[in-house]
């Protein structure tokens, strides 16, 4: 069976917002993500992680290379790829339920079917009782749960996550990571999760793609062979496989951070 998402020789430059100089963001990226896999992408700041995500989301046009989902070239945004943004981007003027059902509403899913699906996903992310609340009435963690549910409810082929838990407090982050793991088991979604946190990358990923400093290259792939249902923080902290994968990722990332500093 062919891979769900394939990136071939993706190279990208973009003009710097202030100086106008061409910035070399990504260099010959080649990778494949299999169906149902959760991969994490980690690397130092400015390694082109976000550029990659924007290209996958279709928000950023690319010229060199080829990116396909189910064999179809990515040309612009589409509901086959759902995105959870770094800062929650749920709409402040829509209630939780209306936000979660937005994707289905946009494609004209009948009301009854939409309501059923929305309530399924509200349950999945544990937002029962908050259906009619507005985003400003939610905590940071709840907002991000709502954003995850919104993306999942639209039933994308691939879910892209751009440092989604970076802005929440440490306790909430741990909970959200465990919840995402649970969601990955429940939905079997193909997920690409971008982060700069090494612990997070090792905890969530089936595989972890480590990127080099700018221009971003795929430096290494670290396999993390831990069954999904074993991934609980209280156990991971003493799990040999987890600790060795984490240390390996950490070592690879630090090499790059040092390169970035020396430059």
């Amino acid at each position: 069976m062919p891979a769900k998402l394939v990136i071939q020789d993706l190279t990208h430059y973009y003009p710097d917002e202030y100086t106008g100089e061409s910035v070399h963001a990504l260099e010959k990226i080649n990778l494949k993500v299999e169906e149902g896999e959760l991969v994490t992408v980690v690397g130092p700041s400015g390694c082109g992680k976000s550029t990659l995500l924007n290209i996958l989301a279709g928000l950023l046009p690319y010229r060199e290379g080829l990116v396909t989902v189910d064999g179809v070239k990515i040309e612009g945004p589409g509901s086959d790829r759902g995105v959870v943004f770094q800062e929650h981007a749920i709409l402040p003027w829509r209630s939780v339920a209306k936000n979660i059902g937005h994707g289905l509403e946009l494609r004209g899913t009948p009301d009854q079917e939409r309501k059923t699906r929305v309530s399924d996903f509200i349950k999945l992310v544990g937002l029962e009782g908050f259906e009619d609340k507005y985003p400003h009435e939610l905590s940071g963690g709840m907002k991000q749960r709502c954003a995850v549910a919104r993306t999942l409810c639209a039933d994308p082929v691939v879910m892209l996550m751009d440092e989604p838990f970076a802005a929440v407090d440490a306790q909430t982050r741990i909970t959200l990571q465990e919840e995402l793991n649970r969601i990955a088991i429940a939905t079997k979604k193909t997920i690409i999760f971008i982060t700069h946190a090494v612990d997070e990358a090792a905890f969530l990923g089936d595989r972890c793609f480590v990127f080099s400093a700018r221009p971003g290259r795929l430096k290494a792939i670290v396999d993390i062979n831990i069954a999904r249902d074993k991934r609980i923080w209280s156990e991971m902290n003493v799990d040999k496989e987890f600790l060795s994968s984490r240390d390996e990722i950490l070592r690879l990332v630090r090499e790059e951070v040092n390169v970035a500093i020396e430059e």
Binding site: G58, L59, P77, S79, P92, G103, L106, E137, T151
Partner: protein
């Protein structure tokens, strides 16, 4: 929407005036009335230069009795409502279109800036040439006056909507039209509310000035003609009414609408 909270607001308003603030406000008003009365009594011909508060109050009873005041008041309010509704109805879509499309914005922006500098009163003479001293003239001046503040506010409102919301809806599969409907319109609603309040404030001044220049019955006309026949008490009465009606309109209608939209969506952290 305003009606939902009107009772609460009404109660809050009076609670507001029954607390310590009420005493301060009462003191200020009392002080002004006192100084006003003293000056009035010191003058040789107060009826011409500064009639006392009591004389003004008496003249208001006369005018209400004659039915003039309610009729003038009604004329002015009607003009304000009709003129500013049309001004907003044109200004809101115009601001939205300019906010959405940068090419159109670049085309029209200099023109808008140019006309914004020409106040409603400055276009009055040419409008009078076209339509004479008619209600139509006042209507056009009010429309013109209320158009710019709302158009500019809505324009900047659309532009201030964070890109992340647009990106989010695009990645959910939203089309351009759906983005306008679900992101740009609701996202600029707080600005529409603020801009409407601003526009109606400007229109309120324009209607008074317009009535004076066009010589049409209304509060503006009342204070202008009263001066001609030396009824200074009616001049002052008219001024008081203009100020008080604005405070009431603003407090009970415009501000609640503005704060409801802003608060409900939590766009301002309180």
């Amino acid at each position: 929407m305003p009606s939902r909270n009107n009772l609460n607001r009404f109660l809050a308003f009076w609670r507001h005036f029954s607390g310590a603030n009420a005493i301060h406000l009462a003191l200020v008003i009392f002080g002004i009335l006192l100084v006003w009365t003293l000056i009035s009594h010191a003058l040789e011909n107060p009826d011409r230069y500064l009639p006392s508060p009591i004389a003004v109050a008496l003249s208001s009873f006369d005018m209400v009795y004659e039915g003039l005041l309610p009729s003038y008041f009604g004329d002015t309010i009607t003009r304000l409502i009709v003129g500013s509704i049309f001004g907003l109805a044109l200004g809101i879509p115009f601001g939205l279109i300019l906010g959405i499309n940068r090419t159109i914005a670049d085309m029209f922006y200099p023109m808008m800036n140019f006309f914004q500098s020409i106040s409603g009163i400055a276009i009055f003479p040419i409008v009078v040439v076209w339509f004479g001293n008619s209600d139509k003239t006042i209507f056009i001046v009010i429309l013109y006056t209320s158009f710019f503040p709302i158009a500019f506010t809505v324009l900047s409102g659309v532009r201030e909507i964070p890109m992340k919301y647009i990106h989010a809806v695009r990645t959910l599969g939203g089309t351009r039209l759906q983005i306008i409907r679900d992101v740009l319109l609701p996202g600029s609603l707080p600005h529409i509310a603020t801009g409407s309040r601003l526009s109606i404030g400007f229109a309120w001044r324009a209607v008074i000035a317009g009535e004076m220049l066009a010589g049409r019955e209304g509060l503006g006309w009342m204070i202008f003609t009263a001066q001609d026949v030396d009824r200074t008490s009616e001049v002052i009465l008219g001024m008081l009414l203009i100020g008080l009606s604005w405070i009431i309109l603003d407090h009970y209608l415009l501000r609640p609408f503005e704060s409801d939209t802003i608060e409900r969506w939590g766009l301002v952290q309180r």
